[in-house]
Symmetry: D2
Subunit: 405 residues, 4 copies
């Protein structure tokens, strides 16, 4: 056991932190202002492209991507504390080209893409020139069970014909979003885990209609957005399939581990920022003649928040460590645990911060309510808490067969 | 003890319920559509005025207002179960001219208004012709302690000159909102509870600027809205003061009891509707080959929700009963208790419903996320939970002086 | 709705309260001392018999037993607030001949007993001359499902021959305990709810062996005790069967309603006493230069306790009201709810009180730890929380068939 | 970051585990039986002395004591996982001569004792020949604030005269307990943190009376026990003072860090064992036709328990790591955190296990209720949760001075 970051990580933490303090935090408002200035909010705030250039120049680019020549060569354990820092700002991850779902899509292409697919889609993604979407969830089925996915992908000569409806396609509203990885069913008659395929579909292909965006607690999450997408007789060449027909479920499984670690670490960053805001607030607000910071109940909120954050962070780091050392499959219990723990923890911390801020906490004058809304989706995305708790228990029972009787 | 509603109440419950089923629920979407159709959302959806006419004709109008010839002659206990039913729909209370802050403002005018004030402002409010705002909360002070209020009201001849800034002035965005009751300081040198006055200020008076609306989470709550209002050298005649100079705190106290009961009962209605939606959902959604309704964890959510709602309702009704029989002052502990209990209870119920709905729960496809946002403000409005818990404990200690030592 | 006790009840509350203050509280220690003085703790402390005589003389005797000429003629709703007051003292209920399992056994005999059975067993129980046990739970099966009961009752001529093993036979350790109602299987081939019978078995019958007592946490609960009982070829006349062969399940069901109400009301009394002790403590204990009563965190404990108690009491009273008016069967959801709510609520209150008392709270110097232990069993007795939560949900789903789809 | 135990630790874990499986678990019942056989329970069960001999021979002895030639030379981080394993059995720690309060007392003597003190008291303690007590807590003051300690230590020539009353003197009931470290006030006029001294007092000194033992939830914790001790004109030579007059507070502080780590790790062992028992139970118990392990609610208990244990363990290990690397003082926030986290976590796990076991869980047929009682004291011992939460918050505020305003 060794509870310190390596020198390499400490150096990167310092650099990412300084970058945020100098460039990102001061521009969070600029970013929102630019979004609000246009007629539509589905635009690209120019400040983002400027910050991306700066980050690229500073060598803080594509820090994810373990075990790959394309990225910065960091392990999950090394990347995790950096994802946490980026997660402190709602625009932090994108600045470093480390935001979902691009990170997951790039990983899929790195691992399973053909040279042609890499050339065409991975390179511009790595360069931050385009963005991407992952079309997985469907409105009519419980998508936490990936075998439920209904979208149809039928081969017709040299093409696949795609028909179906997806929603919560995050990022698909963004004007820079050019490519989607679409999960669907190529063979309903195959064994249960071989019915699905993943296929690359350029978003300007005929037959694709963005029906609407889905708000989250009233927020549009522009310019990213969560889209409902209709695919009607959409045709793409057979070479667009990833890894091969019937291997969609396998790709989906491989995608989950890193994706969850990233989300959890960003989530811990969100919690840290909320705690920081709360600590700042209570040291400058007086009620009934007493500083909030001097009230016992509020102090308990601080102590509980700190205890919950520290524990969640350590377990997330351990899960990252296990992914690096024994692999995502063996680490699945730990990954499931942090998937449940991190958002629930952060929701508690943010809720306390809202309470400490009073009315300002639920409004747009603090980032707290939006943090809360975003975190709340994480108890559902990639499967609700209940599915993961059940998986943890199943694993635990498997590891402890009954002793007597 | 007698745990049944009177026949009079049962009849009204039936009529209000039927009115909602026939007229309100089916038009919730119409109302939203009308809001979204115009260029601005700060308009009056015509469906609302139509529904108000219908309710008036059905004799379901101004059901609040206990002990007054202006209302329907119901006690708090009789009105409470009706407020619950109205609260089931986000547009329910307004249809019956029973929505905040008009109800509180009308009560103030009924109790403390001069004949002239009643003629000019109470009558059109009772008729549902105009709406009103209550300008209490200020951005820079902890307004849960009413003696903190800083807005200045200075007499100048036959007029008062008002200067200050208010926020969370709910309803002030509505084009029908014509009059505000403004709380402010007339005499900084008076004893602590006699410094404040309440005064009627028409919203079209020179010097009043609506600076912006404050979103709740990402919702604008249009056309009602929560405004930040600047008052700069605003002049009104001295006859606009209510009850007399220095009596603002006294009026504020009198307003709190009924206001809280109303909010709590509506909140219980919200919880009931969320539970109903959840029960409907789980009986029609299958995951991993099993109906949600057949999963033990989900059943616990149903059972816990039912237990929490039932208990909260009974205590709210008891508080209403006490207000009617021993008065708001003696009932203050019970009022403080339900002020804490009702929103916290409803937040739990709604959060479970969100979880049962998955992604649809956080979006606009169910009313749940908006319910959650609205309920979350109730843990802060009229004083945060912590202030009320403290008041309950103080009262409890007072009732139980130390026995030994 | 009417939230006040009747004059009759108020008078009885006053009398029972005064009786406790004058006679019971001051003798709680005497009772313990008498238990500790002998060689064994399985004796009858003489103070109990003296107090019983006093209570009988004061006309405060057999206050339970609704709808019966044998009792005081109180409804469940009338008796409930008295059971609460008695529950405040660990020896309170027995003083008034209102303690379990005698109350339940007497009710069974009143309702279903033959004249002979009443003469022989009900009369001495009503007079407080003997005590009784209810042999239901078995070590090897989940007894919350009564159809699991395995003890065998086989007819042999004019006798039944009983074989089996019971545990948690509360009260069976008491030297005054003379009679047991035993639940067992008379016909394994009958339909599921007609296999069981209940039969009267004098405890001095040959073949009955009290194997041991079961401690609760570290308490023996002497002289009452919870026994493990072996029944080996125990023979009783056929006339000892209650109501008739195969009707044991039916009797068990009928027994549950009042039994639960009684337990819940006593439980609320326990919570009230713990809160009272805590309030007393915090007003006389100083840490770090500050009275505990002036610390915000402790005040929250007081407020939360008061809120939880008030809500639980109201729902329990409502359940009692429903039992009186619509019957135990229709009231089953409410009965299940308070069965879950009351002990969980009281455990929280007592746990806070323990924390406020520090080390004294877990020791024998306050009654708190013993209260906790006793309450903890109530989350298991008569079926664990989970069984009742499931029943509540089932009932709720039944009342709300799916609306659409 | 490195999340694996060293080879040295893994080897010791294996050896301690095997020792428990072969020698300790099978003798837990023997130990209890020997206690129950005698007339008194304040005896030494011979099995314990046998097991101690075996452990000594196996080289598993005095594994605590970091940075000392007297112990096994393990760091806190290395010892922690062993303490966890020992903590799984209620008799585990003593077998390896690693049980409180001897460990703390030995550490004090190692660090601060004179050669004479070491010779006389440390050596027999290290050899497991005698046991010891730490007389700190007093009945009349809040002892979590050590400056409150009132026991008087007055110099009289070559002796100190001690007068006062202590309670919760754990281990003082044990016939092997020969020596106590007593905390008291030598100089009421000195600065606040220099008033106290710690002094060695043989338990057979005239003037010492063990007044009684204090039960914990009905348990006597024999033969260890928690004693109330009267000290009346007790005289010891001045050479018995430890470190010097006025340095008692300083010693008390130094003692806390390791003591808490040990307790926390044992507590995690308790939680692990309870979880193991629960997993075993639910895989062999059926209710309503379904294995408990197949019920969703029970699975949530397993998942939540696993998540809570894992997080608590990691933070405890991190605290141990910090104590080894930056010292107890810098690690004080982490130490305070685990002091709060570990017992609260374990109480939740054990409570769930009790619920899964039903009535057996609260009785003596499982170790669960006794575990619960013991854990409950840990929320109070060495200061209640509230004191530590407050300390964590204070530290957090100190580390985050207000940023703006």
């Amino acid at each position: 056991m060794y509870f310190e970051y390596s020198d390499k990580v400490k150096d990167l933490q310092k650099r990412v932190t300084e970058f945020l303090e100098e460039n990102v935090y001061p521009n969070e408002k600029t970013y929102q202002d630019q979004l609000n200035e246009g007629e539509s909010r589905w635009i690209v705030p120019s400040i983002m492209e400027e910050l991306k250039e700066k980050a690229k120049k500073a060598g803080l680019w594509n820090l994810f991507l373990p075990e790959s020549e394309y990225g910065a060569g960091l392990t999950n354990l090394e990347y995790a504390p950096l994802a946490e820092i980026m997660g402190r700002s709602p625009i932090g991850s994108e600045v470093f080209n480390c935001s979902a779902p691009d990170t997951g899509n790039m990983e899929v292409l790195v691992r399973y893409g053909t040279e042609e697919q890499k050339e065409k889609w991975l390179m511009p993604l790595l360069n931050g020139e385009i963005r991407s979407a992952f079309l997985m969830t469907e409105p009519d089925v419980a998508s936490s069970d990936a075998t439920n996915i209904q979208l149809s992908i039928v081969r017709d000569g040299d093409e696949y014909v795609i028909n179906g409806r997806k929603w919560w396609s995050s990022g698909a509203m963004d004007p820079r979003c050019k490519i989607a990885i679409v999960m669907g069913k190529t063979n309903p008659d195959a064994p249960r885990h071989q019915q699905q395929s993943q296929i690359l579909v350029p978003l300007d292909t005929e037959g694709i209609t963005i029906k609407r965006y889905l708000p989250v607690f009233g927020y549009d999450d522009a310019p990213h957005g969560h889209a409902e997408v209709e695919l009607k007789d959409v045709r793409v060449p057979v070479s667009n399939v990833i890894l091969g027909e019937g291997r969609g479920f396998e790709i989906a499984q491989g995608r989950l581990g890193p994706g969850r670690i990233h989300h959890c670490m960003r989530t811990i960053g969100v919690a840290e920022r909320a705690l920081e805001l709360m600590i700042d607030r209570i040291q400058s607000r007086t009620t009934f003649g007493k500083l909030l910071a001097d009230q016992g109940v509020i102090r308990e909120w601080i102590a509980d928040s700190r205890m919950e954050i520290e524990q969640a962070r350590l377990l997330t780091l351990k899960a990252a460590y296990m992914m690096d050392t024994v692999g995502n499959k063996v680490a699945k219990k730990e990954i499931a645990m942090i998937k449940v723990i991190a958002p629930n923890m952060a929701l508690k911390v943010v809720d306390r911060a809202i309470q400490a801020f009073g009315a300002a906490g639920v409004s747009g004058d603090t980032p707290l309510a939006k943090m809360y809304a975003g975190l709340r989706t994480l108890r559902l995305a990639d499967g609700p808490d209940e599915v993961h708790r059940n998986a943890i228990a199943k694993q635990e029972l498997k590891e402890n067969p009954v002793l007597q009787k």
